[in-house]
Amino acid sequence: MGFLEIKDLHVSVAGKEIIKGIDLTLERGKTAVIFGPNGSGKSTLLGTIAGLPGYEITQGTILFKGQDLGTLSIDEISRLGIGISYQYPPAIKGVKLQTLLQNINNNPEGIASWSKALNLTDFLQRDINVGFSGGERKRSEILQLLLQNPDLMLFDEPESGVDIENISVIANVVKTMLEKEKPISQRTRSSIIITHTGFILDYVKADIAYVIMDGHVRGCGSPGEIFEEIKLHGYEKCASCFAEQFQGIKTGDER
């Protein structure tokens, strides 16, 4: 049984097919990175895994720890061990960040020390994301995930809009969360990271990269190599070369 197994996944949003047949597997302890142009369906994929409303699975399955996520509610998915850091987290008036953190995990020491590590101590008494800058929201997302401490962490552009210093703050925290300091065989936390800039990969090494274009996986392979290709040639030009690589991996798998 795999850890996360996505098979032939099709997802529609507001009646329109956005994910058009995606296969993706991830083992325990591994980190995958997803690249892809704007609007290609990356956030839709993570949102579907997390069980967010509005994402309708029309075909295929997502299995996590052997369970079909399509049959579970959002909070059940969360308690099964999946957490998400949103690309665009909503603001909630009147609910203090601290109150939410206590509801996630009533661990006063953890709340105090991690909010300090993420420069968020002064934000605990503020309403969740209300008036937070882009970078502050991203840090608050990481803080919430830290307390939740899920087995599978979905990071949707955790470093976009974050200044250089705070990228290193976030990235180092993520690195710790993913137990990157431990030997590979002892890591138990897995993650999927969406990034456009690749900055986070300077700190957090990914094991595999997927390229998603127009709702399909167009390539998969070494994160470093793929990112270099994208930087050099852009997505469209690379689509064919990814495809070749991808075919190779696929046949490799089937052997």
């Binding site: 967010l52 909070d75 969360s78 308690r79 909503p90 008036k93 009147g94 939410l100 509801n103 939740q148």
Partner: protein, 363 residues
């Protein structure tokens, strides 16, 4: 506080605690005053009937001075009977930090409780009054009528908090009028979290030059509850200010929320807001905002929104592992959380506690 015919639980629900530090106390059960005390020099708390003898101007000028005795059947009934209620007077320049606590208890089955209160703040006086209204037990039923006339002298300041904890067998008709003198400040803070059969309340503030009247209200309408409530601020002096902010949650109850601001003089500024949250399809929230301008140099505005809990916010919290129930209750609490500027921390804490208690028992 232990009164045989009163559930101590009911007193907790209105935050009444005779032992807690307060500058004075007042408690009435039906038409019997059980407790009345001032612990502060410059503060007078006495039965209104007795005050008539001590201060002749009350009967001459203040009693039905800003409330029309012919307003409705209840005001007429009240006018024709011996008044029961408090007269609170704060002398000139006296500023009191500790709040005064008052409790209005309704116990007698099937009866009509008639209350008439008069508050008079002399120039420059300051006080906070916390009024709690509740049935004495869970089984009381009948009608409560509460008339409150408030007179604020120049530069005075009153924080007036009203906590309602009626039962679903009680009909409540408060009648409030406030005269906000020059540069005086009035803050009203109304919280009704428990079921009630019917409440009709529409206090009116007359705001003189440079004065301000601000009304905040928090209503949680349970199934079967009917509220017709709101506030009116008549900005009658140059530079007068008005603010009316309401948060309404309907869990099956009906709420008609009336808000009115009227500006007649230059430099008057007013804003009002009504946000309503419907928890299910059985409730009704009907927001009726009214603005009336009678001078070009005024600035009056309003915002209103009625809807359900945002799915996005709900699912956001649920992705963190909170159950739907937990998530809903957090969002509702947050929705009801209005920060009232100028309310002493102690009163705010009391209000928060009352809200917390009833949300915990209802969602």
């Amino acid at each position: 506080m232990n009164i045989p015919s009163v559930d101590s639980e009911q007193l907790l629900n209105i935050g009444y605690d005779a032992c807690a530090a307060s500058c004075g106390n007042f408690m009435v059960l039906d038409h019997t005053i059980l407790d009345i005390e001032s612990r502060y020099q410059g503060l007078k708390v006495m039965p209104l009937a007795k005050a008539f003898d001590v201060y002749p101007h009350i009967r001459e000028k203040l009693f039905f001075g800003i409330v029309d005795k012919d307003k409705n059947e209840y005001t007429r009934m009240s006018y024709n009977s011996e008044p029961v209620g408090y007269y609170i007077r704060v002398e000139e320049g006296v500023k009191i930090e500790e709040p005064l606590q008052a409790a209005f208890l309704f116990g007698e089955q099937g009866s009509t409780q008639l209350i008439h209160n008069i508050i008079e703040l002399c120039d420059g006086a300051e006080i906070n009054i916390v009024n709690g209204c509740t049935t004495a037990t869970h089984h009381s039923q009948g009608t409560h009528v509460g008339i409150t006339e408030t007179y604020l002298g120049k530069n005075s300041s009153l924080g007036f908090t009203m906590l309602h904890n009626w039962g679903n067998t009680v009909e409540v008709f408060p009648v409030g009028a406030i005269l906000v003198g020059e540069n005086a400040r009035y803050i009203s803070n109304y919280v009704a979290m428990t079921a009630v059969k019917k409440i009709v309340s529409y206090p009116v503030a007359h705001v003189k030059q440079g004065g301000s009247a601000r009304f905040f209200s928090i209503i949680f309408a349970k199934k079967g509850s009917y509220f017709d409530s709101g506030a009116k601020a008549l900005l009658e002096g140059a530079g007068a200010n008005g603010e009316i902010i309401g948060r309404v949650v309907s869990d099956g109850g009906t709420v008609i929320s009336r808000q009115m601001l009227s500006g007649n003089e230059p430099g008057t500024v007013g804003h009002m807001e009504c946000s309503g949250l419907l928890l299910n399809e059985n409730g009704v929230i009907h927001s009726i905002p009214e603005l009336r301008g009678a001078h070009p140099d005024i600035n009056l505005s309003h915002e209103a929104a009625v809807g359900k809990i945002s799915t996005e916010e709900l699912s956001y919290l649920m992705t963190r592992g909170l159950t739907e129930e937990q998530a809903r209750s957090l969002i509702i609490r947050g929705f009801l959380d209005i920060k009232i500027e100028g309310l002493p921390a102690k009163v705010q804490a009391l209000v928060d506690e009352v809200i917390e208690r009833s949300i915990a028992g209802s969602i």
